[in-house]
């Protein structure tokens, strides 16, 4: 990234293939703007999101990580997002407990029809993370010196 530009956060968005990735596509075909620093990674289902991916993203310099999946009850695989919901609840709480601000992690349920919600969610998330500033914490949890 060029140095003279204002700092913008780096956001990784994990989207499930069936609902949220399609919702993101719909936001695109509807030309609904959201910041370019949101990068989407396609996963088959929200339950494919391994906490290690989130930690890795933070450690490699992401400032915020968001997971988007089908609304509870609408999972293509029937139950995946229910597991994801519990996993993320526990993980986010643990990260918060270790001092990683809660605002840097988020889960949103976005259906294939909710292009506008996808764009609005991303705008809001980028805003929240921008306010929190750069995330260095997970990169150096063990480097006190």
């Amino acid at each position: 990234m060029s140095m003279n530009r204002e700092w913008t956060p780096n956001i990784v968005a994990f989207c499930c293939n069936w609902c949220s990735y399609a919702g993101a596509d719909l936001a695109g075909s509807g030309r609904m703007n959201y910041p370019a620093n949101v990068k989407i990674i396609r996963i088959p289902c929200s339950c494919r999101l391994n906490p290690m991916f989130i930690l890795r993203a933070f450690q490699r310099g992401a400032d915020g990580v968001i997971l988007c999946g089908c609304h509870p009850g609408d999972c293509h695989y029937s139950t995946g997002n229910y597991y994801a919901r519990r996993r993320m609840t526990v993980l986010f709480s643990l990260l918060d407990y270790m001092g990683i601000e809660r605002g840097r992690t988020r889960v949103e349920w976005v259906s294939a029809a909710e292009g506008a919600k996808f764009a609005a969610t991303m705008n809001d998330f980028v805003k929240t993370v921008t306010e929190l500033g750069e995330n260095k914490k997970l990169g150096d949890l063990r480097c006190k010196k």
Binding site: A22, D25, A36, I41, P44, C45, P51, A62, Y77, S78
Partner: protein, 663 residues
């Protein structure tokens, strides 16, 4: 090391207007492993695809990244292109630089920068890709239909006519279901039995149909094309092959305390009984809860009078195991329990009945031989009040009831009102209704006939209270059109109770891993485009199990489900999903956690000889049935040792994408 080719699409100006495609192609050239990178106006065009094919051959590419529109649009296209040039289709990755880049950004520099990152992520992932092959699985050419009502019968007949074996499993002693209990059918008023019983007979006589009555599904394993079902055939204490259905035993049985389910418990029957005259199989059954012989060891009269020697008190439940390629759920409905609605005095007076009870009262084969009499004193009623929407259209947070419209009540109530008026012109009939819902061929005409020709008094409004006052039922309700509270002293009140899925449906849904809505109706794979399929492959939906519907709709859906079943059973084998989970046996602990979260039951365990640095010996290892796995990945995250991974979306593939994006 992979040899990767990158192909950046302009998509006319759709991408090129906000992304400097040439710069993207140029930037990617310096990525490790990229040996070729170019851009073109329309990659998906025949020329574009030819360009890809040529590059694959010329540069000996092992994988390609196409920077273009959403993979949901053209992933399949480019996979085919790759295959035609000799590549494995799973060596293709798409960087979505249209929907998720050019279309949402306005600034060229920003768009270009993001497109480069997305392309790099795709390249990074591709480095970890491996060729995948989708497996196949054979198809067992037999269908299982659960439920022997009109829905199940119709599906079975249609599938059997196409030449496939069908088993109908019916939990009652006879097939026929709810339709067998009805008197007349709307809007034609033809006799229900007259149109149903020939179908029952046809099913019974069809060489491809096997009716397993008085039986329920006990357990199920397997997957589309390869289900294994265990069916529990309950002991009926009568040898089905010997019983001639003569009915002598049913007359001689000294116990008369049983409530006749077929007649909605309006009359008593013996412990040995045949549900109704046209039952199929026309064989008696003994109720073990009621039978003196089975309870106390004394009696056995039926056995003595049976000339066919069919009575067998030693009979036990029988388990039948069978393979099926497809399963059809046709479990139907029951009316809700009206006892929660005592504001209508349902518990307080036998003269307050549900519509299905009324149906039996009106039926010539019913408990009153079709005579319209009050259940309390068998006297002829003069004033009948029908109340619609009892327990339908209630909000979730209301005290009781169902949130949906039960769909059939408006029409059957009009039918009841009309039949009463036709047979007994001296009886006044009032119908309290909220909305008269009559969409359907000849439905509104039918309802109007009830009003105009038969003089049925339709009152818009609901009843607030029915009180028992002596022999009369005092009905107090709203007449909204007149702005009055009306009071009617009625002799009978008929409640159009909501319908709900059969209580066995919930457990069945769990067994089939077929999803259900909050009301226990089975969910369709797509509400518009796949209305007769469950999201679980190989499971199909027929009749009210999927949602309230009337007979013509049920029969239509039953036929549609049959067509889907036939489509499946015609195939000799099925292609499976290639992106499936796979357990690394060296790292698998055999801890069963993955099995617990698998929605498809695709994971099982086997004892395997393992030779790894950490372990030598026989160990319990997870094994994924690739024909069943749908590739959601729930197991991969549950696995603490990362032994379970998902092909096409492996841990290292996704990690590489993360690294590339956060670089």
């Amino acid at each position: 090391m992979q040899k990767i080719g990158v192909f950046v699409c302009w998509c006319g100006s759709n991408i090129a207007a906000t992304v400097d495609v040439k710069a993207v192609a140029e930037a990617l050239k310096s990525e490790a492993g990229v040996v070729f990178s170019t851009d073109y106006q329309y990659m998906c065009s025949e020329n574009g695809q030819a360009m890809i094919r040529q590059a694959i051959r010329e540069h000996g590419l092992t994988g390609i990244v196409v920077c273009s529109c959403s993979p949901r649009m053209h992933e399949a296209t480019f996979r085919k292109t790759a295959v035609s040039a000799g590549l494995n289709p799973y060596m293709v990755e798409i960087a979505n630089i249209r929907e998720q880049c050019s279309w949402i950004h306005k600034d060229m520099a920003e768009g270009t920068e993001k497109a480069i990152v997305l392309a790099r992520a795709a390249v990074a992932k591709l480095h970890k890709n491996a060729p995948l092959t989708a497996g196949t699985s054979p198809v067992t050419k037999r269908a299982l239909v659960i439920g022997g009502g009109i829905a199940g019968i119709q599906t079975a007949l249609d599938v059997a006519d196409a030449g496939f074996e069908v088993d109908i499993v019916e939990k009652a002693p006879t097939i026929g279901g709810r339709m067998a209990q009805l008197d007349k059918t709307f809007p034609t008023l033809d006799c229900s039995a007259c149109i149903l019983t020939p179908k029952m007979v046809e099913a019974a006589q069809h060489e491809k149909i096997n009716i397993i009555s008085y039986a329920e599904l006990d357990s199920l394993s397997g997957f589309v094309g390869n289900f294994t079902a265990t069916i529990r055939k309950k002991a009926r204490y009568i040898d089905e092959d010997k019983c001639t259905g003569c009915g002598v035993c049913t007359e001689k049985c000294p116990s008369r305390k049983g409530l006749d389910d077929f007649n909605m418990k309006l009359n008593k029957r013996g412990a040995v009984y045949i549900p109704f005259a046209q039952a199929i199989p026309n064989v008696a059954v003994i109720d073990p809860e009621q039978c003196l012989k089975l309870r106390t060891g004394k009696c056995g009269l039926c056995q003595k009078v049976c000339s066919a020697k069919a009575v067998n008190f030693e009979q036990k439940d029988e388990l039948i195991e069978r393979q099926y390629g497809a399963i059809v759920v046709a479990t139907g409905f029951k009316p809700i329990d009206a006892s929660a609605f005592n504001e209508y005095a349902y518990n307080d007076s036998p003269d307050v009945v549900t519509s299905l009870e009324f149906e039996r009262i009106m039926n010539a084969a019913g408990p009153t031989k079709g005579q319209l009499v009050r259940p309390s004193d068998r006297e002829h009623p003069h004033e009948i009040v029908f109340i619609q929407c009892v327990g339908s259209r209630c909000t979730e947070d209301a005290e009781k009831g169902k949130p949906y419209c039960s769909k059939i009540c408006c029409m059957y109530t009009a039918k009841h009102a009309m039949l009463v008026r036709e047979k007994y012109p001296d009886v006044n009939v009032h119908v309290f209704y909220i909305d008269a819902r009559t969409p359907g061929k000849n439905f509104d005409e039918f309802y109007r006939r009830a009003v105009e020709q038969y003089g049925v008094d339709y009152i818009k409004g609901m009843v607030g209270k029915v009180s028992v006052e002596g022999k009369k039922l005092h009905v107090q309700g709203s007449d909204l059109l007149n702005g009055e509270q009306v009071h009617i002293n009625a002799d009978m009140v008929v409640l159009a109770t909501a319908i709900e899925p059969d209580p066995t449906a919930r457990a069945l849904g769990t067994m089939l891993t077929a999803s259900m809505d909050t009301n226990d109706f089975f969910t369709e794979a797509h509400p518009k485009l796949r209305p007769v399929e469950s999201p679980t492959a190989g499971v199909f939906l027929s009749g009210v199990a999927q949602g309230p519907k009337d007979i013509p709709e049920t029969v239509a859906q039953a036929g549609a489900a049959a067509a889907k079943v036939i489509g499946l059973l015609c195939k000799n084998e099925l292609t499976c999903n290639a992106c499936v989970a796979h357990a690394n046996e060296a790292a698998c602990n055999g801890c069963s956690q993955c099995e617990r979260v698998c929605p498809y039951g695709a994971i099982s365990y086997e004892e395997r000889e393992i030779r790894s640095p950490e372990f030598r010996g026989v160990r319990r290892i997870a094994v994924v049935n690739e024909a069943v796995c749908q590739g959601c990945g729930a197991c991969t995250v549950t696995c603490p040792s990362a032994a379970m991974d998902l092909k096409g979306f492996t841990n290292s593939q996704i990690m590489s994408e993360v690294d590339a994006i956060c670089r």
